[in-house]
Amino acid sequence: MVDPEGKTATPEEPPRELDPAWRRVLLARHPKRPHSLDYIQRICNDFHEIHGDRLFGDDPAIVTGFADFDGRQVLFVMEQKGRTTKEKIHRNFGMPKPEGYRKALRAMQMAAKFDRPIVTFLDTAGAYPGIDAEERGQAEAIARNLREMARLPVPVVVVCISEGGSGGALALGVGNVILMMENAVYSVISPENCANILFRDTGRAEWAAGALKLTAEDLNALGMIDEIIPEPPGGAQDDWDTAAANLRLHLAGRFRELSIMSADQLVEHRYAKFRKMGNFFA
């Protein structure tokens, strides 16, 4: 199954002389790159979306739902960007609000109650910076997810599929296993904002992309992720099916590994993983 748009259109291939990290940033944001629901169509069966945080509303920037995956009942929690202008607006350009993070947590706790494993897909420029989001406690919603994901007694596998935008991505990112697609990026700040803060010049974003060490290889070398999922030559935007097949293979393998662990072992394993992150001090 190939999206005709994604396959036939000529992507704006970034020229070779770009900084390699910046090239990854452009690929991660490529207009033809598969989004969460494009992968869902290809890696699992019988997906059913569930809506709402039961507190305020339903945030279309995060999609939650259950599906058959590799013979298991799995909960998927995903950041979702839009492709057309109308979809982009509907999905708030993939920038979740507090109700999105609260929906995600509600769904994950429901899955945990019934002993079902969880997959999350990270793909956001960041949590939405707006008046309403601040009023409803954007920071509190993210913070709570970080703490509550740490105690989920079921397997949690996190995949940064494209853009891991700071706390807005990490709010779904506390897993037993953290994977990144080959051309995904994961960063504390966007290269543009970093360049703006340091030099008052967003034109230096390309430099910042390199300095921030945000590629899958960089994060792997720093011990922040477990594995890189290969993409088809040129990038996932050129061949959604192959990218999805690779993702499926890695997810299924990880679930088989985690399925032998008890609830206590899973919580301990996840804790130990994050506890040793960032031992860069003397």
Partner: protein, 285 residues
């Protein structure tokens, strides 16, 4: 009684100074209050823990002074005060991060942006972490993450309450994803604190934004703030650029957060110790 009241400083009575000299001299001794627009003698301000004696406006307070304010005299020890960042990204902008760290260490006398201490608060043994905004904007990197995680572990190990006083612009850009992951590391440690049924009081001071608010600062059993503190996830300038309109008066200040249900209380600095002591009595008998 201040010199100001004894001897009115009119231009005639002041020694004659060049304009430039006068400016330097004034900056050294006087502080204009953002709250009441009055000029206050700095000594008066310091004696009053940087709270305006005229209007109660809270100026920022550095971490060593904050520890003196909160802990009983002479009975505290600091922990991990030698931990320094090893610069995991080898980050260099206009100058190397490693040099920047040394410069801030020299100017503040701190190894990084948080002091971890154990001591007594009204006689009760507590773990306290206090952030210092002077150290690279109070930003959180691997050292802040590790010192706070260890403080949480000491709390659990010693069955003690924890108080974290936040003052931070968020995660430290110069440590990239490493600083981002400290949010998850500390929050996971707080999960264990929660399971141990030990109280954690989060004190939010001006400013507390970004990854610090979006992790431990909002995870207290009580989240309490000083009056008028800027508290939020996104910085006001980022929000203004996104929505392209002016922000309402008082947006993201303590009073705004209290109104929207994000804080348990707003507590003036000079009552903070008493309030925490009272709250701990509720939690721990």
């Amino acid at each position: 009684m201040s010199w100001f009241k004894r001897d009115k400083p009119t231009d005639e009575k002041l020694p004659k100074l060049e304009d430039s000299q006068r400016k330097v001299r004034t900056e050294g001794l006087w502080q204009k209050c953002e709250g009441c627009r009055q000029i206050i003698w700095k000594k008066d301000l310091e004696v009053n823990w940087n709270v305006c004696t005229k209007c109660g406006h809270h100026f920022r307070l550095d971490a060593p002074a904050r520890i003196k304010l909160l802990l009983d005299e002479g009975v505290f020890e600091t922990h991990d005060h030698c931990l320094t960042s090893s610069d995991p990204l080898h980050f260099v902008d206009s100058k190397p991060y490693s040099e920047r760290l040394k410069a801030f260490q020299a100017s503040t006398g701190l190894s990084d942006a948080v002091i971890a201490a154990s001591g007594r608060l009204d006689g009760r043994t507590v773990q306290v972490c206090v952030m210092d905004i002077r150290f690279i904007g109070g930003s959180m990197g691997s050292v802040v993450g590790e010192k706070i995680a260890r403080a949480i572990e000491r709390s659990i190990g010693g069955h003690m309450p924890l108080v974290i006083v936040s003052a931070s612009g968020g995660a430290r850009m110069q440590e990239g994803a490493v600083s981002l992951m400290q949010m998850a590391k500390i929050s996971a440690a707080l999960m264990r604190m929660d399971e141990a049924h030990l109280p954690y009081i989060s004190v939010l001071t001006d400013p507390t934004t970004g990854g610090v608010t979006a992790s431990y600062a909002m995870l207290g059993d009580l989240n309490i703030a000083e009056p008028g503190a800027l508290i939020g996830f996104a910085g006001p300038r980022v929000i203004e650029q996104t929505i392209r309109q002016k922000l309402p008066e008082g947006f993201q200040r303590s009073e705004f957060l209290l109104k929207h249900g994000m804080l348990d209380a707003i507590v003036p600095r000079l009552e903070m110790k008493q309030y925490i002591s009272r709250a701990l009595k509720f939690f721990m008998a």
